[in-house]
Amino acid sequence: MLVVDDIRKSFPGAEAPVDVLRGVSLRLDRGETLALVGESGSGKSTLLHLVAGLDRVDAGRIAIDGADLAQMGDAGRARLRRSAVGLVFQQFNLIPSLKVADNIAFQARLAGRHDTAWTAELTERLGLTAHTAKYPEELSGGQQQRVAIGRTLAARPALVLADEPTGNLDSDTGARVLALMLDLVAETEAGLLMVTHSERVASAMGRRVTLEAGQAI
């Protein structure tokens, strides 16, 4: 489903461009979970952004379900994110002015495939039923991250991209959120690519790819 083939990416530096990714390749199929690990600055988040179509590669190819991201314009990549990809951020990135229920349903509505029953089930399994009428700021960090996961999975994406989703949570809450997330991803048969530098989180995933100095080892 996801094919990353020899991609390269650099950013302007003070003196010379900084090569963040130097020929990274990987594959991910539906139902698979993959941990992307590595030290800070190794290019994990950059790779995730490129896969999500939030940025463009300098060289190489990224394809999701056969669609080459390099061949798509901004609108095409936006459409892909809407329909096939789900993003879970470390900072949650909920919409603060929408209530929990609306936040959870948001991406599904955006994609035009809102399933009320599925959303309700997700809400219940995420333990958020009592909080649907609240605003995100009224929730704890763990609850907010559960809302973010619910928002992603409510749209039943083919590929879930998660950037340190438990990085802002304490270890117990993080563990519970991770378990829930893995269960739900498995249930929806989505592929999961998760950036983490937590050994514990990585070990919970099916596979792992380690990035070091912009290369997969």
Partner: protein, 855 residues
Amino acid sequence: MNRAALMALVSHWRRRPLQLLTLVLGLATATALWSGVQAINAEARDSYDAAAQTVAGAGAARLVARGGQGITREDFAVLRRAGWPVTPVIEGRIDTPAGPMRVTGIDPFTLGPGMLGGAESSEATEIAYDPAFLTPPGLILAAPETARALEGGTGEGTASSDATPDKVLREAEGPERAELPPVRAVAGLAPGTLVVDLSVAARLLGNAAPTALILTGPVPDLEDHADDDRGAIGGPIGGRNGEPVGGPGGDTLADLAPGLRLQTPQGNADISRLTDSFHLNLTAFGLLAFAVGLFIVRGAVGLAFEQRRGVFRTLRALGLPLRRLLVLLLAELLILAVFAGLLGVALGWLLASALLPDVAATLRGLYGAEVAGTLTLSPAWWLSGLGVAVAGTLLAAGASLWQVARLPVLAPAQPRAWAMAGVRGAWLQAAGALALLVLALGLGLWGRGLVAGFAMLGALMLGAALCLPLILRGALRLGARGARGPVAQWFWADTGQQVPGLSLALMALLLALAANIGVGTMVASFRLTFTGWLDQRLAAELYVSSTDPAEAGAMRDWLAPRTRAILPIVSTGVTLGGRPGELYGVADDATYRDNWPILTGLSDLWDQVAAGQGVVINEQLSRAQELAPGDTLPVAGEDWQVAGVYSDYGNPLPQVLMGMDAFATRYPDITPARFGLRLPPGDAPALADALRDRYGSGVEIVDQRALKAESLRIFERTFTVTGALNVLTLSVAGFAILTSLLTLAGMRLPQLAPVWALGLTRRRLAMLELGRAVMLAALTALAALPLGLALAYVLLAVINVEAFGWRLPMHLFPLDWLRLFALACLAGAVASLWPARRIATLPPGELLKVFASER
């Protein structure tokens, strides 16, 4: 997708109702001030159009008597017999229980069908053939609103002067009272105008002679020879090559009625120019108030966009295309603009309704222009108000939309507190301010005309406003250098951080304060100058005129032993510098030498005038023709040396004073029927009574004190409108500060929480917040002072000169500045009271949340 995304965007306003209120009220206020002013202008223009069409349409020429006397029945009869299409009118003004009104007496039979009122009022002519109109007690035809105003007020009318300041010397009608006939409403007639039969007009105005003969049809070649100088000096009215102006039968006007001269509608052009200037001034003020309102809108929209940067990023990350996001944001803004615009137009209507009576009084008093005191609404006005609201919103939100369009999807989600906070933004702003100030300077040096004057004002004001954040930062840096102790250091540094967030509100305050100082200085300077000028111009204790010119000589003889001096007032219309103007004859008397408001002149100017070697001219003429003492001016076919220039506020026409002997030699037919009388002030009432006893209705007397009081009353009403707009603008700016502070208060927790945790109490923090607002308002007020004075200078030395043709000296009023400074500080304190109280009563849990989310 659209629905979900729009719901996410709009939900921001639901969570921040105060911000929404700020945006809507800011836009509504801006629209209200603008559309209110436009409503007043539109109403006034409609009234002018209606007035111009009362009799025989706007383009009708008229014949008037030389020297200002009435037209005789013989003149009329001779012209009609010779086939001239003339109809007599008697025009004047009376005081009615509903206020002063213009009376137009007509003769329906010679006027002909379809010649009364505008296109809408063909019924007016039909009613004029009604026996009720023609037979006693007659019938008044009036515009519906005028008729309504007169309803229940029928009773007595009092003839009165137009009270135009420049006319006070020459017009003084007696307080004759007469019964008003019944009133009938007719659409399309000018407001404030009462159309009656000639006989009724003669009774109401106490004047049986027609004041003009209006030409209801074409007379060949007349337009080419209007207001000809040769006509004015009593010779035959001639064509361009000396050939006489002919009527239908081949007879010339000079042959048929040598006492009459032709006046074309162009003679009204100056009134139109002055009223246009007045409306342009109003428009400029409306525009300034609109700009202040837009600063609020800009602030509210900018803040809302800044606070939603994270949401925009998330929406795009979740798959909303950029173009769709921009379209949705635009739609959101348009919805808000239409809503606020409707509210603003409604408020504007209320504002215009409240101010229109004062504007009408001003226009009537200053320019003799009739304007309805009530407002009528047109769909075009509503639409234009909405259009302005939408355009203003797009203008105010343009920069924010542009930022969103350029926002990289991976940009940091944290608000960066307004783009202006960035160094690049500050430099751009400084460059923009400099460019605008250079533009203002360039327009000041090389610009010509009223539009250039207002463009200079706009550039100056906007440039100065953009400079404000830089000035404040500089002042705060100075303050920080003198700071002693950690709290003081934090205070100055923290205040510097708040400037970007408050800068738009402070800019609005700067503009409002500067407008207040500028317009206040202009009005106060005007008042001071005008009062002195009135004292100079109205030096005579009594002004009398004989209604029967034949008796004027006898009256003068009777007055001679009873007064210190008699100053005859004689005048005629002449062409001055290609425009219709006035020529007066003045006696050689100490009154003129001691009192006349001379601006500049030769040392022996009055000797020259008395000897018939020179003339003095008004400032309007001097500026229009670039004439200075010593220059030569052609008057009535002769070249005259300009001996001096005098101020002549409020007069739309060029004017020349000539020695009485020289005048009498050139205009032997014009005999003085009006006089200014010099006598001990205490003797004036007794002499006035004696005159009335002796001459009854044959004399009209105006007391100098009454004239001055009336002129000052008109003057004060003139500036009621600007005063009201001033207050409204200042209130809007105060509101802008309040809302900015309230919004900032909600965002300041991360800045305040650490200081609170380090030991500053919430009460102390609140007090510092209060002090900060007062200090910023005070600094803004200090910056507004030079800007306001520059504004006053431009208004007095550029705008007034371009608009009216005369320049006023600028006076300074430091006490007014102090008052305004205190008001600005008070506005800052009041605006910060609520936010400060919120800080003082903030639950510690709220502050602790700041640390909790830092995990």
